[in-house]
Symmetry: C2
Subunit: 233 residues, 2 copies
């Protein structure tokens, strides 16, 4: 199955970009009447046929469109402190895109070791993971945001903070209500500071634990995403 | 917290290897009366004190021992087809060690792209993840095994095969019984062959799905591990 990401598709015909045309015709060696699938990042999955296999201006005709393809029953927003090691953050983005996420916010915390990100590069990783895992919805990747700004602006019906302090925390199965939109905060190496946790609780966040294991930041993010999707199956 | 992996610890005193002594004394700059923790890979967590900070023969005295540290209520055995890309397999091993697993078997399937593994290198990754996530039990990493041999020798009370064919499959929450020892099979890129799936079902394996997302092999392994641990919380 050959899949292209075409967020700008609007009509029943679509011309691939020069780069994608080259990939389609020269690399994949597809020819006229071959079938190609498109995703628009907004839930649309298109089955198309090549009607002109031009190596620079490949033209596709839409045969069939499916809307809300793979739509999930809840909205998942993960706010996570970027890891010092970029590979770990990139791996995290690839994995939660595969598993299923709607919005990601890099969170700048007191103990964050990284505050700058190349959002463009991270977007490419998300799109590659979307294509690989056949996701018609593109997760929104926000610009990095300060912890206080996020907890003050959060609008999800359920707001959770996963931390490791030995305080009163419930598991996701005890705290999260299936089907509800949720924002979960994942802290940096070294965890959130006590002040951050207190501020979140004052802003109606609930403290949760992801289990008894001591998880790396990116692992905690993936486990939270897996558990919340699992609870909504 | 300084942690060393010492599978051979037996008495109340322990001499670190030359390499570990160097790391402890020269790199970490620990000195006499400093506290060091040891894990033995069999559930033992030891709190020890340095009584001789010799850079080549550092001697530790056990102050306190905890047995069955972090013991989980079920045994989890994941048999997974090694990915073509070794980074993905190594990443998988690191993550499931963090999340919690007891036994891992590299599975050689009809469609496996990789049949050879450097087990020693993979063992090092598991030990590093154990230390990072404070796991006192060392997951057992088996030598690669042919699919047919595994399904014929499996002894776990619950045997599951996660595949992507559109056949009758239940979710883990429907199929897995909390608290029971379980073996779950994760296929290669391109999935198990229909013959392999049929053979597994004939050997009393139950077919399961990990959700609606199309997951890479290593992602499926991590998601299965996360879901099964979550169900046993």
């Amino acid at each position: 199955m050959h899949l292209f990401f075409t967020p700008d598709i609007s009509a029943d015909f679509y011309q691939l970009s020069e780069e994608e045309s080259k990939h389609c015709v020269r690399v994949l060696r597809l020819v006229k009447s071959d079938i190609v699938f498109l995703i628009d990042g907004k839930g649309g999955l298109y089955k198309t046929e090549i009607i002109d296999d031009h190596p620079k201006r490949c033209i596709l005709k839409v045969l069939e469109k499916r809307s809300e393809y793979g739509k999930r029953p809840f909205k998942l927003h993960v706010a996570i402190a970027p890891t010092k090691n970029m590979d770990r953050l990139e791996w995290f983005l690839e994995k939660i895109t595969e598993i299923g996420v709607d919005e990601i916010t890099p969170l700048i915390c007191q103990r964050s070791e990284r505050r700058e990100l190349k959002i463009d590069r991270l977007q490419k990783i998300i799109v590659a993971a979307m294509k690989q895992s056949l996701k018609a919805y593109q997760p929104v990747l926000n610009e990095p945001l300060e912890f206080r700004k996020l907890i003050n602006s959060a609008s999800e019906s359920q707001k959770l903070i996963a931390h490791c302090l030995e305080t009163d925390r419930k598991s996701l199965s005890q705290e999260y209500r299936r089907g509800e939109n949720v924002l979960i905060l994942i802290g940096p190496e070294g965890d959130f500071s006590p002040e951050e946790i207190e501020a979140a609780l004052k802003s109606d966040f609930k403290a949760v634990t992801l289990g008894n294991s001591r998880l790396r930041t990116e692992t905690a993010g993936v486990v939270a995403c897996a558990q919340l999707n699992f609870m909504n199956e």
